[in-house]
């Protein structure tokens, strides 16, 4: 039944592409037609709830960032995954869906905060989990697990105490063996080696 649904979708919207998925029907949509497509899904196909909105950083691939929407139908109880690539520039951008779902507001702020994706048309795009003025986007793959040294957000407190924020050292983070290769050749180690016993903690620039 899900296959038929997906087939129907691909037939009626020529700008869609099928995406590999292990569970729910999944399509890839051009970012220029995204709003139009999602509106139709919401109004005509009954996907009335935006369950989740997030982004994935593909590192070396182009375009680098993909935004993934999970729609849910409160009537038919099924999901639809819609993915859309961001523009391939810095900062990456994609149209905001806050006009369709109020709940997209915070999700988009989070994706902006964590990945630095600009959602054009968002009423108040600012950081949500990190503090205002924080310079990095921590869920990008090039951001080290150990974090980077930054100034204390409250300048007056920093001045009074003379302290910067000092996170607890993680020395390479949680440990597991590298994937592939000979087991005998390697000890289990953290996948993020940007800060360990030998290397200094990465500084801002």
């Amino acid at each position: 039944m899900q296959d038929e649904f997906l087939k129907g979708l691909l037939e009626s919207f020529e700008y869609l592409e099928e995406r590999p998925s292990k569970d729910w029907p999944s399509v890839k949509c051009l970012s220029t037609r995204l709003l139009e497509f999602l509106k139709q899904m919401r109004d005509e196909r009954g996907f009335d709830m935006l369950s989740d909105l997030t982004a994935v950083d593909w590192q070396e691939e182009t375009p680098r960032f993909t935004v993934v929407y999970h729609l849910y139908s409160t009537q038919k109880h099924n999901y639809l995954r819609v993915a859309s690539d961001c523009s391939d520039e810095e900062p990456p951008s994609i149209p905001s869906v806050t006009s369709l779902w109020e709940g997209a507001d915070w999700h988009e702020r989070e994706a902006y905060d964590m990945f630095g994706i600009i959602f054009t048309g968002h009423p108040d795009l600012k950081r949500i989990l990190m503090w205002e003025g924080y310079p990095y986007h921590p869920l990008r793959k090039d951001f080290p697990l150990a974090g980077k040294e930054v100034e204390l957000p409250a300048a007056d407190v920093a001045e009074a105490t003379g302290e910067k924020v000092r996170p607890a050292p993680m020395a390479g983070g949680p440990f597991h063996a590298p994937q592939g290769g000979r087991m005998s050749a390697s000890e289990p180690r953290g996948s993020d080696e940007s800060w360990n016993e030998k290397l200094e903690k990465p500084t801002g620039e």
Binding site: P20, K22, H70, T74, G103, Q179, G190
Partner: protein, 413 residues
């Protein structure tokens, strides 16, 4: 201006002059609620703009408990992340454990044996009772009824004792594993749960008598903070809060997992979506959870409690690891490289006490997720606050916050 006398009759509000309206408007006062404030249930901060007693604007500030769980998940194996799920909704850690492993098992295409499913289901429902007990207890406190809290916390204490017997920990349970559980049920545990339920049911009715028909509670909650059906869906609100708004949305019924379809239970649904409805829905869900746990205990299947055939996913029992070469290698590979997953993407949502807890996993194969996104119900439920609190009175803020029942550990991740 104060000496000028103006005659205004009641009911003439619409026609009053612009000048007079300006007089009525007081100075806007900005107050800061939290991040460390008893009514914010954690570290939620609200920037509130007040005009006298009326709330003009509210801006929630979250993120004080942000630990970067999603970044951490990308750097460790699937099993290593289980303890981190305890710390999402730390009021119901067992339910998070189950939701997370179900998502990973969906990625692996693995189904666990019936006994394992039934144990997980009992865990989920006990976690729901525990979470709702805290929810209604502190909700009572927020409305000024201190006694309810004493009742619910006595019961939660007993639940914690049961969790300790089962998992070895009262709070951070980490009970599930990909493909099974950490251990089978301890001897006599189900009997202990039944004993607990037998003495718990009358207590629920007592809690009910304390508040449900209480005049003061009634006045403080009925009609306050109402969320309409359409609004709730548009904001992505889930769980008891959505059901209170009249949407019969329950993933246990509509997209069953852990064998929920085998059990008989009702989904309580509210009509107005106000604070009072949210109380009623939670109270009824406690009763329904008791009903489910009783059924599950009565028909708990025998047999294996972990997926024996999934050798690359579930670590073999310790006795075998110490005596057999093949199991030793298996165990070593699992601990060092992690359970091996195929490449692909899955999204799984479970009906947690606070709402739908979702995990979106992108895998490129191997033992570590490429991306793991946690869809936290409290995050979505809190996003409606600016809309919900606008026009309320100051005294309504704690009531509305209490009725939404959120956990910041999950919201901030």
């Amino acid at each position: 201006m104060a000496n000028q006398v103006k005659e205004v009759s009641i009911g003439d509000v619409v026609n009053r002059s612009v000048e007079f309206e300006e007089d009525l408007k007081g100075e806007i006062m900005n107050i800061n609620v939290g991040p460390s404030h008893p009514s914010t249930h954690g570290v939620l901060r609200l920037k509130v703009e007040l005009d006298g007693e009326a709330v003009v604007k509210v801006e929630p500030v979250v993120g004080y408990l942000h630990r970067g769980d999603e970044k951490i998940a990308e750097n460790m194996t699937y099993n290593q992340f289980i303890p981190y799920t305890d710390r999402l909704d730390y009021i119901a850690p067992l339910a998070n454990n189950v939701a997370y492993v179900l998502a990973v098992e969906k990625l692996a295409g693995l189904e666990v044996p019936p006994r394992c499913q039934a144990i997980r289901l009992i865990c989920c429902e006990l976690a729901r009772i525990s979470s709702h007990l805290l929810g209604v207890g502190v909700y009572g406190m927020d409305t000024g009824a201190l006694t309810v809290f004493m009742y619910t916390f006595t019961e939660r204490e007993k639940l914690y004792t049961l969790f300790e017997q089962l998992t070895g920990a009262r709070f951070t349970t980490s009970y599930t594993r990909i493909g099974g559980l950490a251990r089978d049920l301890p001897e006599g545990w189900l009997g202990n749960v039944l004993n607990f339920l037998n003495q718990f049911e009358p207590v629920v009715e007592e809690i009910d008598k304390l508040l449900t028909r209480n005049r003061i509670f009634y006045d403080r909650t009925v009609g306050v903070g109402a969320i309409s059906k359409e609004e709730a869906i548009s904001y992505g609100i889930t769980g008891p809060n959505l059901r209170a708004s009249g949407v019969a949305y329950d993933l246990r019924k509509s997209n069953p997992y852990c064998g929920y379809e085998q059990y008989d239970f009702d989904v309580p649904v509210g009509s107005k979506g106000d604070c009072y409805d949210r109380w009623l829905v939670r109270m009824e869900e406690i009763r329904q959870s008791v009903r489910i746990v009783r059924q599950a205990i009565n028909q708990i299947p025998d047999g294996p409690w972990y997926a024996e055939e999934a050798k690359k996913i579930y670590a073999p029992p310790k006795s075998k690891v110490l005596s057999s070469m093949e199991e030793l290698i298996q165990n070593f590979m699992l601990v060092t490289e992690g359970p091996q997953m195929p490449a692909g993407e899955v999204y799984f949502e479970a009906e947690n006490p606070k709402g739908s807890l979702g995990f979106y996993i992108v895998s490129k194969g191997g033992g570590v997720p490429y991306r793991l996104k946690i869809r936290a119900p409290s995050f979505c439920n809190l996003s409606i606050l600016p809309q919900l609190l606008k026009g309320c009175m100051v005294a309504d803020i704690p009531v509305v916050l209490g009725s939404i029942d959120f956990v910041l550990g999950e919201c901030d991740r």
